[in-house]
Amino acid sequence: MLVQFKVNGKQASVDVAPNTLLVQALREHLRLTGTHVGCDTAQCGACTVLVNGRAVKSCNTLAAQHPGAEITTIEGLAAADGTLHPMQAAFKDCHGLQCGFCTPGMVMSSLDLCQRHPDASEAEIREQLDGNMCRCTGYQNIVRAVQKGQAAMKASS
């Protein structure tokens, strides 16, 4: 079946089976391999993307459920000239990533978090990141990165 949506600002049309997951459509049909799959139970959050501005675990929803949606993946965050989004820059500056595998999902969740909770405290950030697992960083620098990204996003908005 043909599903059309907008991915990272561009119209995309994918010819998928009805049981194709959104993450499969992104990774396998559109070759946007920045979105990762880390588990089969919607626990790890590595596959998190924004669907109409909200963080969604793309391993847990079908591509066919999102016709016409605006989808943002990690590939769609930096400016056209390569300048990192303030949240990406904050992750780099705070060493909020190590192996990088959970990072795309972590960044996408953080964006949603900052939009919904622009004044989130450390404890709230930790609670809100409950759906994203990282095995490398111990979370401390991720929390710092979200705080820094949050401040930068506020300053630029």
Partner: protein
């Protein structure tokens, strides 16, 4: 160049932001599953649903005819075509006999021995087709009784003909007679039984591999999420498939975390490589998380009894330990070294205990193979010793800090009674700094405040030591290692003066592309941006041993330093020629070669260009080019050490344990990039605290089914389970490598579990709970409290 000179250079000790981050932050990383090759098919493995069973028959006829299926391979297809997976470390039993080393087939040969064991491999055009066909493979099993608990192994049905009592080896170290003699007359003896719970590594990137074959030149390429591609290739070609090593290229691209679990040669890697040639196509497989739980090598799983003999003042006189180690169903690559060489030799810890005797029995059970997991043997040693030491303090009625201070080693080098010789350390200062960082002075007030809320508060200490960079090769060989333990480094200076470094170390999160570039830039006086680091490809990098055991900077970095020494020596000859000076008069500093006592100088870039455009060049005495390779084999281990202090609050009504404060002071020797080192400690701490509070691998005792087989059943640490940590360092540079570094990757996971459990016990002892095994999950803590009430 030595460590003291290095540490004065620019970039050394700077928190340089990582060069690898941009690709990871923009979705441009290339992990194995992100790679797709032309003419690629997909493999799915048929795995055993039983923990122990004879295979009466495997019927692939229906699967073979299903849409898209290329082939279904079973144990019969590989019989006689390849050997089993090798074990890389031979342990000799106390009776002089070699360990039992039963076959570890790539696909089961008539018997399965754990849930998840490989029975067949289906290759099809799509993953879905392969999955459907895998379900159509009919396997007729004759189920046998399973044994999963190491304490029951001897009574269990034999897994292997070669080990009728499921016993792999009995190994010992130390002077038993002398130790028993000391115990017979000691003023105090403290005894402890403990279990080190089994863990599942759970790197967030599941294992993944693509085997590819090119018939035109008879060459294989294996892309694989792996920590040591050369070792993978050597084991696979020389021991299993008998392929010519030069015809096989192993590429470990971006790898999403390893923690030890991606060191090993796995059956899937071999099967995919072999099948690529049979089918003349690329064959890709990526584990789903359930497969990771079932088939990644697990960690820990020790049951131990420990005893400390002390004099009347709490001075340690002798330590006696017996450990039963669960090796799982088969010997994974380095499994046998973990509960022996990497464990028992660490049991001196930071203490001047004059006599130590350790005996280890290792057993086969119907569980996934157990092998190195972040720390590998050293967390098990630290957990046992640091629990025992705090117990000694409580038995004697003195402080956890006091017992440690009374027994710290204070003079170096120090020869332990269990083979290792510590080169340097400063345990007293480290403890003192940790106590300040943790505000131990304020603990009593915090405890009162906690108790006023109806809760309990406890403080726990752990003073760990670890041994990193296993070495030297010849001694490891005498102890049973079947591999070298050196590292390689190649420094390729380009004509315009920029540099590519090729290292045998592998980065799967550790940031080598940044740290190694800092070292090279500092030494050559060039910008960090002018240095690239290449790793993870046997086709590009000289033979190297990869990354495990916190060895990368101390062994891999040292190899690069040696290569840089050679670069500097040659470059000085070129510079001397250019400036018509004697080589002995040339100094190299800040990226410039200078003639002593003059203002003559040439920059590094000009020397590089001259090496490749050798017009004005001593061609009669010197080869052109500026490209040097070094192999570095360490003369000793490095010995990072630290003191960790944990404070917990326990709610006796619910059993919930919250880590309120955690302070860690580590001595890693020279630190190249403090930001990266802190990140390594954070991650290690969370894995260690995860073990102490949350994580626990459970198999059903009767059926051998994995009960914690998903992230919904196995409690992975999440952001809101953890506190923010306070970190500091002490620096006694390693005395025997050119950087003075010691390694930092595993420390957090090694030192933290006993700190947490000692804190939990400190909180619960007033309630009568004297001993407690990990994990301190709410139900287990609550039950322990209720048992005391009953």
């Amino acid at each position: 160049m030595g460590a003291s000179d290095l540490s004065k250079l620019p970039h050394i000790g700077e928190s340089v932001r990582r060069v690898e981050d941009v690709r990871f932050l923009t979705g441009a990383g290339q992990y194995t599953d992100d790679i797709n090759l032309p003419n690629q098919r997909y493999a799915v493995f048929v795995r055993s649903p039983h923990a122990h069973a004879l295979i009466k028959s495997v019927d692939t006829s229906r699967a073979q005819t299903m849409p898209g299926v290329a082939r279904v391979f079973t144990g019969k297809d590989i019989e006689g075509k390849m050997n089993g997976l090798p074990c890389g470390w031979l342990i000799t039993s106390t009776d002089g006999q070699p360990m039992k080393e039963p076959p570890h087939p790539v696909l089961a040969q008539g018997k399965v021995r754990y849930v998840g064991d490989h029975v067949a491999m289906v290759v099809a055009d799509t993953v879905e087709q392969a999955r459907n066909a895998a379900e159509a493979v009919e396997v007729d099993y004759d189920v046998l009784p399973a044994v999963v608990d190491v304490r029951d192994a001897a009574k269990g049905t034999a897994l292997h003909d070669a080990a009728p009592d499921n016993h792999c080896y009995k190994w010992a170290i130390g002077d038993k007679g002398a130790v028993d003699g000391v115990f017979a007359s000691a003023a105090h003896v403290t005894k402890l039984d403990l279990t080190n719970n089994r863990l599942i590594p759970n790197a967030i990137e599941p294992r993944s591999a693509i085997g590819a074959y090119n018939r035109a030149n008879d060459e294989y390429t294996l892309y694989v999420a792996n920590q040591n591609p050369h070792v993978e290739r050597l084991l696979m070609t020389a021991f299993v498939l008998g392929l010519p090593e030069h015809k096989v290229r192993v590429i470990a691209p971006d790898v999403g975390g390893g923690f030890g679990s991606k060191i090993f040669l796995y059956a899937e890697d071999v099967a995919l490589t072999w099948a690529a040639r049979q089918l003349n196509c690329a064959v890709k497989w990526t584990a789903d998380r359930s497969e990771s739980f079932l088939s990644d090598a697990h960690g820990r799983d020790h049951v131990s009894h420990a005893e400390m003999a002390m004099d009347a003042n709490g001075k340690f006189l002798a330590l006696r330990v017996h450990t039963d180690a669960n090796l799982g169903a088969y010997l994974s690559t380095f499994s046998t070294a973990v509960p022996t060489i990497l464990y028992a030799t660490l049991l001196a810890g930071q203490y001047a205990t004059p006599q130590i005797y350790v005996e280890v029995d290792a057993w086969f059970t119907n569980t996934a193979p157990v092998d190195a997991y972040r720390g590998a043997g050293r967390p098990e040693a630290t957990y046992l010793l640091e629990r025992l030491v705090s117990r000694c303090a409580w038995d004697l009625g003195i402080g956890q800090d006091e017992i440690r201070k009374r027994n710290f080693i204070t003079s170096f080098p120090y020869q332990t009674p269990v083979a290792l010789q510590y080169d340097i350390g400063d345990y007293v200062t480290t403890m003192h700094k940790a106590q300040q960082l943790a505000d131990v002075a304020g603990f009593d007030a915090r405890r009162q405040a906690t108790e006023a809320k109806g809760m309990k508060r406890g403080i726990g200490y752990s003073s760990y030591i670890e041994a990193c960079g296993i070495a030297p090769s010849n001694i490891a060989g005498a102890l049973g290692a079947r591999a070298g333990l050196f590292e390689c480094g190649e420094v390729r200076v380009h004509p315009t003066g920029s540099v590519t470094v090729f290292t045998g170390s592998h980065s799967h999160g550790q940031g080598h592309e940044t740290t190694f570039a800092q070292v090279v830039a500092a030494r050559l006086g060039i910008p960090i941006e002018n240095v690239s680091v290449v790793h993870g490809d046997t086709g590009r990098v000289p033979f190297g041993m990869g990354t495990y055991g916190s060895r990368s900077i101390s062994v891999g970095g040292a190899a690069i330093m040696r290569a840089l020494d050679k670069i500097e020596t040659k470059a000085k000859k070129i510079a001397a020629h250019l400036m018509e000076a004697s080589e002995a008069d040339i100094d190299f500093e800040g990226g410039e070669f200078k003639v002593k006592g003059t203002d003559k100088k040439v920059p590094f870039g000009q020397v590089a260009l001259t090496a490749y455009v050798p017009h004005n060049y001593p061609l009669d005495k010197l080869e052109p080019g500026l490209n040097e390779t070094a192999f570095y084999d360490p003369t000793n281990f490095t010995f990072p050490a630290g003191t960790y202090i944990c404070e917990v609050e326990v709610d006796p009504a619910t059993g919930v344990v919250r880590v309120d404060r955690f302070s860690a002071v580590d001595d890693f020797g020279t630190i190249i990039n403090p930001m990266i080192v802190e990140g390594q400690v954070h991650g290690g701490l969370v894995q260690g605290i995860g073990q102490a509070l949350l994580e626990n691998c459970v198999y059903d005792k009767d059926t051998g089914q994995l009960l914690t087989g998903s992230m919904m059943d196995y409690a992975m640490p999440r952001a809101d389970d953890m506190p923010s940590f306070k970190l500091d360092t002490v620096c006694t540079p390693c005395t025997h490598n050119p950087l003075g570094t010691k390694g930092c990757g595993e420390a957090g996971a090694i030192g933290s579990p006993p700190a947490v459990i000692n804190a939990v016990l400190d909180a619960l002892r007033p309630l009568g709970v004297k001993e407690f095994d990990m994990p301190a999950s709410p139900s287990r803590v609550w039950s322990a409290i209720q048992q005391q009430k009953a």
